[in-house]
């Protein structure tokens, strides 16, 4: 730890410092996930986010079967599921909850059958030991892109989610913004799979946002607090996990729940 901050440290040492890689990629994952999570809460689809993340599992299983990096399998399955949710919601009158609850819980079962035991556990709950420098850099860049894109469409996205009729009345296309949002969300779930795991990633998107909701007085403060809390929870979670030799995913989530309970004390009526 102390070594990480010494001035003699060179770039190779940074890249080989496992803790630092986990810490930094965790922070960036949280940045994107907790920002998107705020919109998940506005759309009232917290459980959707949770179940959607399970869709990653069969993708991971298939990728392992074909000897590909599991993250690619997860990304493909998640993007497909996000698009499927959007499409079915548009074509039928089913709510996103019903669609995901019905169609995608099955993917959890499928995932359990397809993914070998050891990888299954890691895919679901994350693993601190498998972050390579290359992974970390990819996660950081992807997180920044997801965050920036979400920030760029935040206004239209808010109006599209909260009042689609008003959005259409001013010539916006709420459908398109909703789809973009689901795809961004799927990507951010995929980013967290290695570190935090698919099961817990859903929780990381929701926990900062619902805590922020309790504390916020405006849209700006809501989005800002959601991101700050997400980063804080993740940073503290990884530090504690490192100190106690716990896996980071569950530690982060427990921090999230603690913050949520604290936020309840400040809840505005």
């Amino acid at each position: 730890m102390a070594k990480a901050f010494s001035t003699t440290m060179n770039i190779n040492e940074i890249l080989n410092n496992q803790f630092l890689l986990v810490f930094v990629s965790g922070i960036f994952t949280a940045l994107a996930a907790s920002f998107l999570g705020a919109f998940i809460v506005v759309k009232k689809m917290a459980l959707v986010g949770d179940v959607l993340s399970h869709v990653a599992l069969p993708g991971i299983g298939l990728a392992l079967l074909f000897n590909v990096d599991p993250i690619y399998g997860a990304v493909i399955f998640l993007l497909f599921a996000a698009f499927g949710t959007w499409f079915i919601e548009k074509k039928t009158k089913l709510s996103a909850d019903a669609i995901i609850g019905t169609f995608f819980t099955a993917t959890l079962a499928l995932g359990v059958l397809l993914v070998p035991d050891q990888e299954l556990f890691e895919s679901m709950f994350g693993n601190i030991f498998i972050i390579k420098p290359y992974d970390a850099i990819a996660v950081i860049i992807a997180s920044i892109i997801i965050f920036a894109l979400t920030l760029a469409i935040a206004r239209r996205l808010t109006l599209s989610i909260a009042a689609p009729d008003l959005a259409k009345s001013i010539g916006a296309k709420p459908d398109i913004f909703y789809l973009a949002f689901l795809l961004l969300f799927a990507m951010s779930i995929a980013l967290g799979i290695k570190l935090i795991g698919s099961v817990l990633m859903g929780a990381l998107t929701i926990l900062p946002a619902i805590s922020a909701r309790n504390l916020s007085w405006s849209l700006k403060s809501f989005l800002g607090l959601s991101v700050i809390l997400g980063v804080l929870i993740t940073g503290l979670g990884i530090l504690l996990a490192n100190a106690l030799n716990f896996p980071p995913g569950p530690t982060i989530i427990i921090f999230g729940v603690v913050f949520f309970i604290i936020s309840l004390l400040f809840k505005k009526a």
Partner: protein, 237 residues
């Protein structure tokens, strides 16, 4: 030169949900600067008509807006406010065409529009969820007229605004018509309002029952057909 073509022309409009017709063969036209009141019992398809006029739902028949007609829409209700902390100012900014950057035009217009709906600047910092119903409705109107649309579609809430408040909202709408030459389509539940403020009235109960100037179109017989006899008696003061 006076524009003689109507600003809106609707011919044989039909809307179906799940093969059930909610609007059937509705035809009418609206001239520029007119106030058209749309009346009918609950479930008559009044809000559906608005949604079709806005192009929010698929429909059969023809809806023809005059070229460049800009439409402002005041919905009956907005969203479940609880999940979205939004200040009045932020709500206005959501209308910005700029996806991300500051929209100077919007910021400058907000105070002008607030004034014209009778609200003062201090409301900008308040949360939408904390406004009274009357304030909230005025904010919705200000939002709708922010870019000076030529036409305003106003879906009146069924309940909750006291009569004094309601009266001034109608005065406000009439003033918008007089000062800006706005065309106003209003869904109303109160026949008195229709007689006092509307140039034309459209009676709707899935199909069109009457259309014309209120004193001609709204005969006792028509009102009876529209709402049932009880309501007619109630309004005969």
């Amino acid at each position: 030169m006076k524009e003689t073509m109507p600003i809106l022309e609707v011919k044989n409009l039909s809307v179906s949900f799940d093969k059930q017709e909610v609007l059937k063969d509705v035809s009418f036209s609206v001239d520029e600067g007119d106030v058209l009141a749309i009346i009918g019992p609950n479930g008559a398809g009044k809000s559906v008509l608005f949604r079709a006029l806005l192009g929010l739902i698929p429909f059969g028949g023809e809806i023809k807006w005059r070229e460049n007609a800009q439409i402002g829409y005041v919905p009956q209700k907005l969203f479940e406010k609880a999940e979205l902390p939004l200040t009045v100012k932020e709500f206005f900014i959501l209308k910005s065409r700029n996806l991300f950057f500051r929209d100077r035009w919007i910021i400058e217009s907000i105070s002008h529009e607030l004034k014209s709906v009778g609200l003062n600047q201090e409301i900008l910092g308040q949360q939408l969820a904390n406004l009274s119903r009357g304030q909230f409705q005025r904010v919705l109107i200000a939002w709708a007229i922010l870019k000076h649309p030529s036409t305003l579609l106003f879906d009146e809430p069924t309940a909750g605004i006291d009569l004094a408040g309601e009266d001034t909202v109608y005065n406000l709408l009439r003033r918008l018509r007089d000062e800006r030459g706005m065309t106003i389509l209003i869904i109303s539940h109160d026949l008195n309002i229709v007689y006092r403020y509307a140039d034309k009235v459209l009676c709707l109960n899935k199909e069109m029952l009457c259309f014309g100037a209120p004193q001609d179109a709204l005969t006792g017989e028509q009102i009876g057909r529209l709402y049932g006899e009880g309501v007619f008696n109630h309004h005969e003061h």
